[in-house]
Symmetry: C2
Subunit: 402 residues, 2 copies
DNA sequence: GAGAGTTAATTTAGAACTAAACAAAGTAGA
DNA sequence: TCTACTTTGTTTAGTTCTAAATTAACTCTC
């Protein structure tokens, strides 16, 4: 309700860095426009950032009718973020630059159900950091399949990992001494999409993932919707039938229990579309080969996803839907079911809502997690408590001001 | 992303008025705490508001261990807001004080499909205002069944009213010279709930209405979620079956086509639970009398609502669900179907989510619309353009400052 | 090639806000 | 009654930001 300007000390300084990191060089005037700050302030802040060595002045841009702009770029030494993707049987790591580009990556086995899982995880993380080239690590972003209660302490509840009330954030912070942000993995992807992807040009959009699980990240007015307990976007457990198959969450008829990877494989085995020991790759191959049962399984899944997403669209009214995840490799078979179901159930004036399918790489999940670190210092709401401030401090580094 | 302090000129002044209006008298220290502003600023702003005659200093509060607080109250002359509820065949008006209490109300026939509907509406509004006691009218809040693209211009699309692209806001503003805020009627209720109802103590909650239509207002981080085109919360058109009955929107299988008042009545007639010319009152009477078919119709509707709402809860993760609308008069018959379906489809850690049924009066819709006017000057986002500023100006009145 | 127009960046004066020190007005305990 | 403590409210100095005027650097047109 009330507006206050406490703790905003260098949020705008950070916003400048974020913009330059995400979108490349820009002029002072351009920064003023996109950040909705006065040119006067930009002049002032840029002067300080240049003095601190965080920015560099680049060549002049060609004039377009008036005084040509002097472009500003991020000093390359700004630092890296580390993204960690945690799943039941392994962890994946990436190290990314301030522009979101992956510098290096790794993947290691990991048993989330072991009693010593935190110690194990810490060891793996230390190993990955130690293998780096020594560039300042701004912080650690961790993506988990499940809901995260407070981004700061990082309290994780995850059926998939068998975790309840695990204070992962605090544990990792103590062990590594780094700023740590823990978040649901789909929400992390939504953040990445907002910073570096299609979401850059949209304040309201939906990120949907299909694969082992089904999930959504809801971006509203430029921010990821977390809800009262950090559990927003759990559309995998949207009930689509009263008497549907049992889901991993214990309920019946969840969307995920119908169209998750496990459900598709089970259906395919039952119908004989793939051998009894076949997997999702076999199903995709069968569909590619034109086998009716396989094609039908994908089409039905697409239809159910389309119908449910139409409802979700009516609920949150996004301007764009982005579909991501391992499952998108077979999207050509989902699409014939998805498109008619999705469009026909949308209200007329929203029928033309764009749906974009993004290419998917193994490291995308971890990349999303890393984006959390890059987004956090620029999140005015400060949802993760001190972490944003700590990351900012590491960003500015040991430079002495004034 | 970036923080800026433009146009915040008297937002905090307004926040003080809002707080005192909504929650009654408070001390300076208390205001500083709840508004998260410094005591120094409160002192400063209160000094000016007292000089302007908008606030009055009340008696001292009993000390609780230290210097006793001098309470502050709103000057009673602050003004009234007028709420208008527009439906296909009539309009309802209320005039409310800054505390949200209804001063007077009226209801008149109105044909939304007539070609001269704007002129008609203007005339009815003028009549209602003229019948008042002359207290300053701060502004006009209009609730419509449909989606509103920009709160400022108030562009309305409504299947129920047969309106597409009607610039109601601009038209009414020109005709009345008052600040005008047009909004979807369920969103208006959500605003009212946030200002004066159960939502005061929750930043994330869901308002659900059942009756002729079915709708939802989604409050996220204290603000009503409007989405990319103002259409968020349209859960009435959530598709719940591929081959369900045809809905008024033209699609098949919408939730509203299953459990809206029209659908219930149609079902009841088909099953012989009420006479062929019977209405919703007959259905309720039949259920009260213990007739199986009537009870079953309500229970099925409750089950479908419960299942769908469970999914919506997973999507936006509210801390509270408030059920409102004409339909709640029969809630005792919805409940046996709703409760099991809703709870059983929620994820375990969210099973105990509170669902509150609010009593409903005829004028509640219009009261919600009036709340728009009272909320607008205190909406820092300024979603309705100039309207908030205009209302603030009327609130401060002709007093000359300094 | 001399204005006229446009866009970029800086300077200056001042508004909005806060932190921290202070003053005021009470209670509670010896 | 004197001292210690608590809570409320004000003052002061300083920070962050903006608006508006100004300077700078270019293009376009005649």
């Amino acid at each position: 309700m009330a507006i206050h300007s406490s703790n905003r000390t260098d949020v705008n300084r950070s916003a400048i860095l974020a913009r330059l990191g995400a979108d490349g060089p820009a002029s002072r005037a351009e920064l003023a426009r996109v950040l909705a700050l006065s040119p006067a302030l930009i002049t002032q802040l840029v002067k300080e950032l240049l003095a601190d060595g965080l920015l560099v002045e680049l060549e002049q841009a060609p004039s377009n009718g008036g005084r040509p702009a002097r472009m500003l770029g991020l000093a390359t030494s700004a630092g890296h973020a580390i993204g960690v993707k945690v799943v039941a049987d392994h962890v994946a790591f990436v190290e990314v630059g301030v522009d979101g580009r992956v510098v290096r990556s790794a993947s290691e086995p990991f048993d989330a159900t072991a009693s010593t899982f935190i110690a194990e995880l810490v060891e793996r993380i230390r190993g990955f950091i130690a293998a780096g080239d020594g560039t300042t690590v701004l912080g650690l972003g961790v993506g988990v399949p499940g809901s995260v209660d407070r981004l700061g302490s990082g309290v994780v509840d995850s059926a998939q990992l068998g975790w309840t009330g695990v204070e992962l954030g605090d544990a990792l912070r103590r062990a590594t001494g780094l700023p740590v942000v823990v978040e649901n993995n789909v929400n992390a992807l939504a953040v990445a999409e907002r910073l570096f992807g299609l979401g850059r040009s949209h304040d309201n959009f939906l990120v949907v993932t299909i694969g082992t699980g089904v999930g959504a990240g809801v971006v509203v007015d430029g921010n990821v919707l977390r809800g009262a307990s950090g559990g927003a976007g759990e559309i995998g457990h949207f009930p689509v039938a009263d008497d549907g198959p049992r889901c991993g969450c214990g309920n019946d008829g969840c969307l995920e229990a119908h169209i998750g990877e496990g459900a598709l494989v089970r259906d395919a085995r039952d119908r004989g579309a793939i051998p009894p020991d076949g997997g999702i790759d076999d199903l995709l191959a069968a569909a590619d080969a034109g086998e009716d049962d396989a094609i039908r399984i994908y089409r039905e899944a697409g239809g159910l996803l389309g119908r449910t997403l139409a409802g979700v669209v009516h609920t949150v009214d996004p301007a764009l839907v982005v579909v991501l995840g391992e499952g998108t490799t077979g999207w050509r078979h989902w699409s014939p079911g998805f498109e008619p179901a999705f469009r026909s159930h949308l209200l007329r004036h929203r029928r033309s809502l764009p749906v974009e399918i993004e290419t998917w790489q193994d490291e995308s999940w971890a990349q999303g997690a890393a984006a959390l670190v890059l987004a956090m210092p620029f999140d005015a709401a400060g949802s993760a408590g001190d972490q944003g401030r700590l990351i900012r401090e590491r960003l500015v580094g040991p430079v002495v001001r004034r």
